[in-house]
């Protein structure tokens, strides 16, 4: 049962940018990861930390500069095109921007129908049924009302549901959703996360959810889910969600948690938010050896110049920090 559906082995990604292609940017740094069937994983981190890069590499929308990606135990770079095609639809991706991820001049029916037909998910005469089933699943009801609408008739939340429905149309086993709620109204966000949770439990699809809101991550991965904290292209903390939220070990995770607003005016006054040494994002190049957080970290020492590896705190918790044991005890409020 607990078979690996997706595995990353020492994956790095380097982008060349700038006028002369001279600037090399290390977007992902030696990331290894193993995802089991039916797992729920939330990946959190700030903007530009490499979350999307990671997600795209998982879905083979980007090729890693170093390292290998395995789907269902197969090394992607070794597959021939026929095998690849078969596997391709098993891994689907939900984009961040529901405005750009849906074709503006196709109606909802054809958006869902085409992939079903092309991949022969069902017989031609069953298509309508299947489409309605999908719409129902994602909560776009009454389905008849939506079939011939265009994406611009929908709200952001509606669009995101449609995008999820499209991803589900080909019966995937893995769904990667990249910040699916960031462009959606506050009042609708929770329901999208809820939808993903339901899909995970109902269809037993592994879901990897990328977020920058740690509250939403908690909501999603609470209980049996896992949490990955990523900073500067590196996994800095990894483990059971509850474990990390209650007892964060990495200084960055701690800052991240304490920075999230708490919806309680009185409590919030007592919240401890550390000042960082710098609020700039890390500048990482392929040569970078140091801990990515070093420039902002209040606890960094010379030892941090050589990057720490992922260390085991306990069975359910790993952290990448030389000094995690020396950090003060965690508390969020005074």
């Amino acid at each position: 049962m607990n078979s690996s559906v997706l595995e990353l082995k020492n994956v790095s990604k380097i982008y060349s940018i700038g006028l002369f292609n001279k600037v090399k940017k290390l977007a992902l740094d030696d990331v290894s990861l193993n995802i089991k069937k039916g797992e729920k994983i939330a990946i959190i981190g700030e903007s530009g930390m490499g979350k999307s890069t990671l997600a795209k590499i998982m879905c083979d929308l980007e090729t890693p500069s170093k390292g290998e990606v395995y789907w269902f135990g197969e090394n992607l770079s070794k597959l021939n095109s026929k095998e690849y095609k078969k596997m391709r639809i098993k891994v689907q991706y939900v984009h961040q921007d529901p405005y750009a991820s849906l074709h503006p001049s196709k109606d909802i029916f054809s958006i869902l129908k085409d992939p079903i037909l092309f991949n022969r998910i069902c017989e031609r005469h069953e298509v309508k049924e299947k489409v309605e089933e999908l719409l129902e699943l994602v909560g776009l009801t009454p389905t008849n009302y939506f079939l011939n609408k265009y994406p611009h008739h929908l709200s952001g939340g509606g669009r995101q549901r449609l995008a999820i429905a499209r991803a589900l149309s080909v019966n995937p086993e893995i769904l990667v959703a990249d910040e699916p709620i960031s462009m959606i109204d506050m009042s609708l966000r929770a329901s999208i996360i809820k939808l993903l949770k339901d899909i995970n439990s109902k269809l037993n699809i592994s879901i990897i959810l990328i977020l920058h809101d740690i509250g939403a991550a908690k909501y999603f991965a609470e209980g049996d889910g896992k949490l990955i904290v990523i900073y500067g292209g590196k996994i800095v903390e990894f483990g059971s969600c509850d474990e990390i939220i209650n007892n964060p070990k990495h200084p960055y995770t701690r800052v991240l948690i304490s920075s999230t607003a708490v919806p309680d005016p009185e409590l919030s006054k007592r919240k401890i938010v550390e000042e960082l040494k710098s609020y700039e994002p890390p500048k990482r190049t392929p040569e970078s050896q140091e801990c990515p957080f070093i420039h902002a970290c209040n606890y960094s020492k010379d030892i941090c110049l050589k990057g720490p590896g992922l260390e085991k705190v306990n069975d359910l918790h790993f952290v990448s920090c030389h000094r995690y044991k020396e950090l003060p005890n965690w508390k969020l409020f005074n």
């Binding site: 391709r88 001049s105 092309f118």
Partner: protein, 291 residues
């Protein structure tokens, strides 16, 4: 994101919103109708009558007569056929080539994409009019038909469009919904024709209207050069007679002669230009400003 909000459905209700496009369309339509039906309505007699040259506009001769004493109005109406025919087909081919190569260039990566890019670049850096002159000289004696002539003209018109289209396609290609299609194993033709093409179509339409101007100028040139069968009622040829052969500028009583020809040429091209402007404003709402 906003570039993508172009919506083909807008095209249908286009005229309701855009006066320019409407006027341009009417002008073009007018000339197209003239080209198709004009010669059945206005008979043409090319018999010269030197003593009746340069008659001023009158009821009998709405645009007056030319150096040969032939009615100018009749010639313009009958000549519309060649003028419009040649420029329309040339524009059509230019747009066809430009679109195909533009999409190819925009969509394909790797060696073939680079090859197409090189082809586009080459045609972009070679100045088109002189090149056309040379082509004209080469093919002058081959008795080309209208389609072949249009192709030769189109050969020197398509490159800028291809470049624009490829830029468009490149930006569309990196859009998330294309990525989604790829992930869903959608075949190439689906992505090109169902995903990309509907979104570049408005640009192509705009370009078609714009191409008219270039095609007009080129085909006029071609007649002089003998590439196209000589048609003395082609407006370009008429204008050439007026300005160079008959020296109408130097003859005060002949003012109407070049005037009406130029007027028609300008009106037709102007129609194309504002039609294109109108389309562009419609498809790219940012250009409209607040009105």
């Amino acid at each position: 994101m906003s570039e993508l909000r172009i919506n083909l459905t807008k095209g249908i209700s286009l005229f309701k919103y855009n006066k320019k496009a409407f006027i341009g369309f009417i002008i073009i339509l007018f000339y197209v109708l003239m080209a198709i039906f004009g010669r059945y309505i206005v008979p043409l007699s090319l018999e010269s009558n030197f003593s009746e040259r340069y008659l001023a506009p009158s009821l009998k001769h709405p645009f007056g007569t030319d150096y040969f004493g032939i009615d100018i109005f009749a010639q313009i109406v009958n000549g519309a056929r060649t003028v419009i025919g040649l420029s329309m087909t040339s524009s059509f081919f230019a747009v066809l080539i430009g679109t195909i190569l533009g999409i190819l260039r925009g969509y394909l990566t790797g060696k073939i994409g680079q090859l197409v890019d090189a082809i586009i670049s080459i045609f972009l850096v070679i100045p088109s009019f002189p090149a056309l002159l040379i082509m004209a000289a080469i093919f002058a004696d081959s008795n080309l038909n209208m389609v072949q002539i249009s192709l030769i003209v189109a050969l020197w018109l398509w490159a800028p469009l291809a470049k624009q289209v490829s830029a468009q396609v490149m930006s569309i290609k990196s859009k998330e919904f294309i990525e989604a299609s790829k992930m869903l194993n959608m075949p190439l033709y689906y992505i090109v024709f169902k995903d990309i093409f509907p979104l570049v179509a408005p640009y192509i339409l705009v370009n078609f209207a714009m191409q008219l101007k270039g095609a007009m100028e080129f085909t006029i040139g071609l007649m002089f050069l003998g590439l196209a069968k000589f048609d003395s009622t082609h407006w370009g040829i008429m204008l050439n007679y007026a300005l160079y052969q008959a020296g109408a500028l130097y003859t005060p009583r002949a003012f109407h002669y070049p005037f009406f020809i130029i007027l028609n040429i300008i009106l037709l091209i102007y129609g194309g230009i504002i039609f294109a402007q109108g389309l562009e404003e419609t498809f790219n709402p940012k250009l409209r400003g607040h009105e």
